[in-house]
């Protein structure tokens, strides 16, 4: 992510352009701007103007921000370094993206504690629905006009809103947890009543052919603890409602009490099949806040590991997806391949699934001797296996009739629902964050972005197979071009400091001592850091208040958006298609609930 000054320089003229546009179109007033460390234009907007501004950003041809990436909030009440004079008790943060040039924009809305209401954006972007529910659940901010503002990740009986600063963080800050029988019963009833609350059952629904079936939260094909309430007519699906939150661990809240460094292992567990891929956006964000430049070798090691994990994640996806349509063998073959890839990871990091190998300022250690030979072996091994899968699965007639044309959505719908990653590229939209904003040196590597012309289950599987080949290409270049040099930045905030330096001079020893005892003090600021993760865009929005812990860690995960699209994709399909559809969108429940 190299040079921050150049990036900010590039962004400045564009930011001015947006300002002028807003003025010219006769909108209420040019929105005040805030400086951030990531160069993403950040505008402050009054809550009354929000709908108009967002409508303008989405539909005006000069703006054309058609994708809503994220809605979140920040509790600003105990923040020392207020980012802007408009800042009040709470801030809503809207993050939008223009896919043509990959430009991002952030709109912030200040809210006073006495009036925590904002208009809903569900009419503009359908995926605002879940984001707003999450914000309501976590911060207690209401959205006027929201169709279904219920708690999302926390149970209905939960008291308080966890991400508020006055909500306790650890179990020792409160009395013993008890669950009275009445609450337990109420929770059971809440689970039962959800279909009615969500409007799935109308009062006059008396057709005996219609059946409500609960898939999950414990079901063999749901890839984790997800509950799908399915309304069936025979085997035809009339409506589906995903119910999430069973895997919620409060990673964002945990982030607020961990030191900047000790939060890294938690990120590994967000998308638990993608290992270090999760460290990537987090450490890049912290480095940008701290102004650390990562040495070239460390950057390339990061790419190497991330691409191996992309292959691992895609292999798991492929095997389980194929098993979901009833083909039982490929899952065993891909797990054999995954084992080989995990052996590589183990040889380099010493861990397998969750190595947490990235550090603020570099990676934990240099590559071991003979690593390139092992990687080359893997590079020679996998393509043949991929060819086999091509023949065994992708050309199988039954597999084709089960997946071609099933669970289709258009490019327009994909953008409106915030679908990213292979699911978006299958519609023909050529958007890959590694190309749009090359981070960590992806611009020095050659690779193609596979696309298709219709996003059905088949092509979504196809994309992953093609991406694995591209990842192999990237890995090969990493092996060939691995630069020499240090794997950790020489910077007082880099964690941990290089050992040789610590043992040599006092200027390194003191920061090391401070970092190791208190943790690094990261300068105040805000940064968003996005990567092309295995499943789509993974963004960490980090807020530092100039202390040893993050003030706010927002984790935007691709699976959250993708899961929300299930109802749209499956209406009118058959029950068996639903399984193919949820298999093909590639989600991990830990990635959804965080």
């Amino acid at each position: 992510m190299g040079d921050i000054s150049t990036m900010a320089g590039d962004m400045a003229p564009m930011a001015l352009l947006a300002d002028r546009d807003i003025r010219d179109r006769g909108l209420p007033q040019p929105l005040p701007r805030q400086d951030t460390k990531d160069g993403i234009e950040t505008l402050w907007c009054d809550v009354d103007d929000l709908l108009g501004q967002m409508q303008f950003l989405k539909s005006d041809p000069s703006q054309n921000y058609r994708m809503l990436l994220d809605i979140t909030a920040i509790d600003e009440r105990v923040r020392t370094h207020r980012p802007h004079p408009m800042c009040a008790d709470f801030t809503l943060v809207y993050h939008v993206l223009r896919h043509e040039d990959g430009r991002e924009l952030r709109v912030k809305v200040p809210l006073a504690l006495t009036e925590l209401v904002a208009p809903t954006l569900c009419g503009l972007w359908p995926n605002a629905n879940w984001y707003e529910r999450e914000v309501w659940d976590m911060f207690g901010i209401r959205f006027a006009g929201h169709p279904d503002l219920r708690r999302m990740l926390m149970p209905e009986s939960w008291v308080g809103h966890p991400l508020r600063k006055d909500h306790y963080c650890r179990a020792t800050e409160r009395g013993p947890f008890v669950m009275p029988a009445s609450t337990a019963l109420a929770e059971q009833h809440a689970l039962r009543d959800i279909p009615a609350l969500a409007g799935m059952i109308a009062a006059d629904d008396s057709d005996p052919e219609i059946m409500i079936v609960n898939l999950g939260p414990n079901h063999p094909s749901l890839h984790g603890v997800l509950r799908l309430v399915v309304k069936l007519h025979g085997e035809e699906i009339l409506d589906v409602m995903p119910e999430i939150g069973f895997h919620h661990r409060g990673a964002e809240k945990i982030g607020e009490r961990q030191s900047w460094h000790s939060f890294i292992p938690y990120t590994d567990r967000i998308d638990y099949v993608a290992g270090v891929m999760n460290n990537f956006p987090y450490v890049m964000g912290v480095e940008r806040l701290a102004g650390i430049t990562v040495p070239a070798r460390a950057q390339m090691i990061r790419i190497l590991l991330a691409e191996i994990f992309r292959i691992i994640s895609h292999l798991v996806f492929f095997g389980t997806m194929v098993q979901d349509v009833g083909q039982l063998s490929p899952v065993f073959y891909v797990f054999t391949d995954r084992e080989r890839a995990l052996e590589l990871i183990e040889a380099i990091c010493g861990f397998r699934m969750h190595p947490s190998w990235f550090r603020i300022g570099g990676v934990a250690g240099d590559l071991p001797q003979g690593w390139d030979g092992k990687v080359r072996e893997f590079l020679a091994y996998l393509p043949k296996r991929l060819d086999e899968y091509e023949a065994m699965v992708m050309r199988n007639k039954i597999f084709k009739i089960r997946t071609v044309g099933i669970g289709e959505y258009s490019a327009e719908e994909a953008l409106a629902w915030g679908i990213t990653g292979p699911g978006l590229r299958a519609t023909g939209v050529n958007f890959d964050y590694r190309k749009a904003h090359p981070y960590s040196g992806y611009d020095q590597l050659e690779f193609d972005v596979p696309t298709a012309n219709r996003s059905d289950c088949y092509n979504r599987v196809r994309m992953r197979l093609d991406e694995m080949r591209q990842s192999l290409r990237i890995i090969k270049q990493c092996v060939d071009q691995m630069p020499p040099g240090p794997v950790k930045a020489m910077h007082p905030l880099a964690m941990p400091m290089p050992r040789e330096a610590v043992l040599r001079d006092i200027d390194s020893l003191i920061p090391h001592f401070l970092n190791a005892t208190w943790g690094a003090v990261i300068p105040p600021g805000e940064v968003s850091s996005t990567i092309e993760a295995t499943k789509g865009l993974n963004t960490y929005h980090l807020v530092s208040d100039g202390t040893t812990t993050p003030y706010r860690v927002r984790i935007r995960t691709p699976s959250f958006d993708h899961l929300q699209v299930i109802p749209m994709m499956s209406r009118g399909a058959y029950l068996a298609d639903l399984i193919a559809i949820i298999g093909s969108i590639d989600f991990v429940m830990a990635d959804v609930d965080r």
Binding site: E235, G326, L328, Y333, T336, N396, I401, R402, A576
Partner: protein
Amino acid sequence: MIGVLIELVEATGILLGVTLLAAGLTFAERRLLGFWQDRLGPNRVGWQGTLQIVADMIKIFFKQDWTPPFADPVIFVAAPIIVLTTVVLGFAVVPITPLVGIIPDMNIGLLFFLGMTSLSVYGVILAGWSSNSKFALLGGMRAAAQMVSYEVFMGLAVIGVVMLTGSFSLSKIVDAQTNMWFIVPQFFGFLPFLIAGIAEAHRLPFDLPEGENELGAGFHTEYSSMKFGMFFVGEYASIVLISSITVVLYFGGWHGPFLPPALWFALKIGFFIGFFILLRAALPRPRYDQLMSYGWKLMLPLSIANLAITGALMLSGIG
């Protein structure tokens, strides 16, 4: 009197043998799948895992035999009994060797087999219905639709063989194949029969009544312990049954050079059992409606055409 006793011993021997073979198949299937799927399969209990069946049996017998409070208790218990009984009864008409077989020369042997497989559908439907659970109900519904439709062309497919032999008796059918197996003149009868047979045994790719990916376990979702065990053994017994009938109808039964008839018979059904297991390792599962249209739109016309051509050839004196 002694003749009756011998008959009884023979019948018991065959039925016991079939049940044990079916149980043994659970082990064979897991080892074979393991082989095809690049893994080991059960290999810990006994030599190469051969005692795995014993371990499984002990486990399944000692599991809680639970009837859910919301199920219809009488039918719920009767369903697995129907499935296992009808499948095992189907073996009564199978001629194993010229001398071994319970009633191989029953004059309606083939009809008896078709009747028994049809009856076993009831077990599956009743299981799905009496469980009073949505997944089981969907599984039962699928089973009813699938098996009723696949039976139609299964029946039509075998008529070709009956026309060539002029008898429903399975031993007569085997005798008629002394010179040429019926697979040759009846190849287009054999294909729909085998496919319908897989569907009758509801094995992958036709295991939609179970459809584990969407229905949990389909019609036997609510079953546990030995009641589940009976479905399980019933499924494997019906694999053996379908393989035996395929061999009898199209592959000359016990006929074969050099080796004793019993061995030939065993080899042939072994081949088909292996084929069934290989199918499970290789193919994905079609969707319910695709399965139905495949049956009605492709297999049914194929078996009718086969019937018409067989008839025409016989009338013209060639066949």
